[in-house]
Symmetry: C2
Subunit: 423 residues, 2 copies
C-alpha cells in the first residue's frame, strides 16, 4: 500500500472525493457516539450489582474489630477494607488509609495539604513550584496542577516509562517538587513502567527534600488479555534507597466495582500516613464505612478481585480488539497514524498525522462521534505535535464502537489528505 | 435545700465523707460508660436499616435524569437527592450541592478553598485572619480554625444566639473573615437562634468583603419533643439585605440515617455554588451516587424525613429526660450546677461550679465515665470559667445512662465540696 505522502495531488484528490462522500453519509445519520472518557459500559457495571446485596436490613453491621460500621468512628478505614487494599497494593495494612469513592479526591487533597502546610518544608503555596508531567498523560492530573498554579514541565513518555535521564536533570532544581504518574497501563499510552524505570524512581535524589511522586495506580489489576504487564512494587524498590517518604500511591475500585460508588485508598510511608491522618482528624470523622464493608465482604481478598477482573476483561477485550482491528485494516501502511496495543487499562493511544489531531476531533464531533478533547493528554491542553488522540473504547457497545471507529478512520484519512493538499 | 456555699465546714466535711464513700463504691465496679460524643445509639441506627434494601442487585439504577448512578458523572448530586436537601433547607435545587457522608468535610474543604484561593479577595493564607467563635460551641469547628492557623475570637452565647452587638463591633476589623455557627439546637447549648438574631446575621455589614458565615445546620430537623424550635431560613432573611453570598449552609443525614454512611449537602448563593463547583470539577468526578439514590428513594421527601425523625425522638427523648431528671433530683437548689433543657439536638449543656469542671471530668474518668473533654466547647480548649461540660446522652442505653449520670452527679458534688473546702 502506498503511503499518503507519496501520492500525487490527483490521487489525493480522488481519495478525498471518496472520503468526503463517506463522511457526509455518516453525518447525515445524526449519530451520537462517545469514546471520550474511560467509563465502564453497562454490562461491566452489572458485574458488580451483587455488592448491593451484601448488606441488607438485617445484616451484621459489625466489622472485624467489633465496631458498628453504621456509626461514627474509624478514621482510616475498617480493618478488612484496609487489608483488601494492602493485599492489592502489596504493602502493610498500617500503610493504608481507605477513603471514599474517589482517588482523584485523595490526590487533590494531598496536593492541597502540601500547598497549605508543605510536605515537611515550607508551604508550597508560598513558593513558585513546578511539577514534572510525563506526557501524554492524564488530563485530571494536569488539571489539579493548573488549578493550584503549579508550573508544569512536560517529560516525554518512552515505551518503558517517562524519560528518566531528563527527570534526573530536572530534579536538580529545588523548585521542582513532584511528579504525577500512572505507572501501570498508563493513561493514555497503556504501557507499564519497566522494572528499571521503577528502580530509577526509587533512586531519585531530588534537590527538594519535600519532593513527592504521586503514584496513581488506577489500573493496578486491570488486565485485558492473557499477557498482562507486571509492575514492580514501588515501596519495595524504595526500601533499598530509603526513599519511601517520596511516594504517595493511590488506587480505587472505580473500575473494579462502581465508578459512581466505589472505595479508594492511599498507601504511603509511616511518616506520610501520620501527617495525612493528622490532617484527616480535622477534616472528617470517617469515610463511608458501610460501603467499605460491602466491598470487603464481597471481594474477600485480592484473589476475589482478580477473579472479578477476569469478567471485566471478557467484556472489555473485544472492544479493544474492535478498535485495534479497524485501525489495522483501515490505517496500516498509509503512513498517517500509529497506535499502542496495550495489555490492560482503559485507553488506546492513537497518533494521527502531526498537525491534524484537532481537525480529526472537529470532524468526528460534527459527525456525532465525541473523542477526548484533543490536547487534553498534555499539560495546559497543548499537544506540541497536534497528533495524540486518546481513545476510550469501553463505554459504547461493540456495535456502536465499530461505527464510531469506522467514522474516526475516515476522519483521520480526510484530515491527512487535506493536510497534504495544504487545505 | 441549703446551697453548698452556705454550709459550714463541718457540714461540708460530713457531705464529703458520704460522697467519697459513694464515689469509691462506683469506682470499685470497674464501669465503662461513654457520654462523650453525639453518637446515635444502636436502636437509632436500626431505624434506618431499610435504606440498605432500597437498591439491590436487580434494582433500577437510573436516577430521574436517566443517568446510571453506578457510573461516573453528575458532579453536584443526582436530581432527587438535590431536591430532598433543597426541601429540607428550604432553598432552590440549583442552590444545593450533594456531597459524600461528611458535612465536616464540606466545611473543611470550603475553608481550605478560601485559604488557597480566597473568597473573592486575596487568599486567606496570605493574611493574618481571624474568625468569630460563639462559645460554648462545637469543638470540630474550632479544630478546623486552629488547624489552618486562623485566630479564634470567642463570642459569648446568649439564650437566643451569639452576642450580636459584640459581633457587630468585631466585624469592623477587616481581618475578621468569618464565623462558624450551629444555628439550631446549638452544640452544646441546644438552643436555637431567634428570628431577630437570624435577621441580624443577614444584616451584618462586615468590613471584610469576603466575610463568610458557616451555617452548620446539623440539627435542622432533630426535634426531641412536641415543642420544637423554629429557625428562620437564613437565605430568606439574607434576600432582604442582598447578603446571600455571605452564607454557606451545610447539613447531613448523619443523625437521620447513618453517621457512618449518610449523605451531606451544602446550600449557597449562585455565586458561591459556582465557585465551589469550579473547585470540585478539579477535585472529584462525583460523590457516591448509589448512596444518594438509596437515601432519596427511601425518604422520598422532607415529610418522609420528618416522619423518620419522630422515631428517633421516641428513642432519644427518654435519654434526655433521664439526664435532666437526675440533674433536677440531685442538683437542684444546691447552687453548684445549672443546665439547659433543649427541645432537640444531641446535647445537654451543663455548667458546674466555676473552677471545678476539669476536676469533675477527672473524677468521672477515674470512675469509668467518659465525658467530652472539659474545655473542648471553647476555642483552644480553654473554658475561662472551667465550668461547662457537654453531656451527650444518646449513645448509652437508658440503664447505662442512669448509672453514668448518677456517678456524674456525685462527681459534681464532690468537686464542689472540695473546691469550697479549698482542697
Amino acid at each position: 500500500m502506498t503511503q499518503y505522502k507519496d501520492l500525487s495531488k490527483e490521487q489525493l484528490l480522488k481519495i478525498k472525493d471518496e472520503l468526503v462522500a463517506a463522511y457526509e453519509s455518516y453525518k447525515a445519520q445524526g449519530l451520537s457516539l462517545d469514546m471520550s472518557r474511560g467509563k465502564p459500559g453497562k454490562d461491566q457495571l452489572d458485574l458488580s450489582n451483587e455488592i448491593n446485596n451484601v448488606l441488607v436490613a438485617d445484616s451484621d453491621y459489625k466489622c472485624e474489630n467489633g465496631m458498628d460500621v453504621r456509626n461514627y468512628g474509624i478514621l482510616d478505614g475498617i480493618p478488612e477494607a484496609k487489608r483488601l487494599f494492602a493485599e492489592l497494593l502489596e504493602v502493610e495494612d498500617k500503610n493504608v488509609i481507605v477513603f471514599g469513592s474517589s482517588s482523584l479526591n485523595i490526590m487533590y487533597d494531598y496536593i492541597a495539604q502540601c500547598m497549605i502546610f508543605g510536605a515537611g518544608g515550607k508551604p508550597w503555596a508560598s513558593q513558585e513550584i513546578k511539577f514534572l508531567c510525563p506526557a501524554p498523560g492524564y488530563d485530571r492530573h494536569f488539571g489539579i496542577l493548573e488549578h493550584f498554579g503549579i508550573k508544569m514541565i512536560t517529560v516525554p513518555m518512552k515505551d518503558d516509562g517517562p524519560d528518566m535521564d531528563m527527570i534526573d536533570e530536572l530534579i536538580k532544581d529545588e523548585n521542582v517538587k513532584g511528579i504525577f504518574c500512572v505507572p501501570k497501563y498508563t493513561n493514555p499510552e497503556g504501557l507499564t513502567f519497566s522494572d528499571e524505570v521503577v528502580r530509577r524512581f526509587a533512586a531519585m535524589k531530588p534537590a527538594a527534600k519535600d519532593f513527592r511522586v504521586i503514584w496513581d495506580n488506577a489500573y493496578i489489576i486491570h488486565d485485558i488479555n492473557d499477557t498482562p504487564d507486571e509492575l514492580l512494587n514501588i515501596f519495595e524498590a524504595a526500601k533499598e534507597y530509603g526513599s519511601e517518604d517520596m511516594f504517595i500511591e493511590v488506587t480505587s475500585t472505580s473500575k473494579i466495582s462502581f465508578p459512581g460508588a466505589g472505595i479508594s485508598a492511599l498507601a504511603a510511608s509511616d511518616n506520610n500516613i501520620a501527617s495525612i491522618k493528622k490532617r484527616m482528624t480535622i477534616q472528617i470523622i470517617g469515610h463511608d464505612k458501610i460501603n467499605q464493608l460491602r466491598h470487603a465482604r464481597y471481594f474477600k481478598n485480592v484473589d476475589g478481585i482478580r477473579e472479578h477482573m477476569k469478567k471485566h476483561a471478557e467484556i472489555v477485550r473485544p472492544k479493544f480488539e474492535a478498535v485495534l482491528n479497524a485501525f489495522s485494516n483501515e490505517l496500516d501502511g498509509l503512513g498517517i497514524a500509529n497506535w499502542k496495543n496495550p495489555n490492560g487499562g482503559y485507553f488506546i493511544s492513537l497518533y494521527v498525522m502531526p498537525g491534524t489531531a484537532k481537525e480529526v476531533g472537529r470532524l468526528c464531533k460534527e459527525a456525532g462521534v465525541v473523542l477526548t478533547s484533543v490536547g487534553a493528554t498534555y499539560p495546559y491542553g497543548i499537544d506540541p505535535d497536534n497528533s495524540n488522540i486518546r481513545i476510550a473504547p469501553t463505554f459504547p457497545d461493540v456495535e456502536e464502537l465499530n461505527k464510531a471507529v469506522e467514522i474516526l478512520c475516515v476522519c483521520i484519512k480526510l484530515a491527512a489528505v487535506n493536510y497534504l493538499l495544504g487545505e
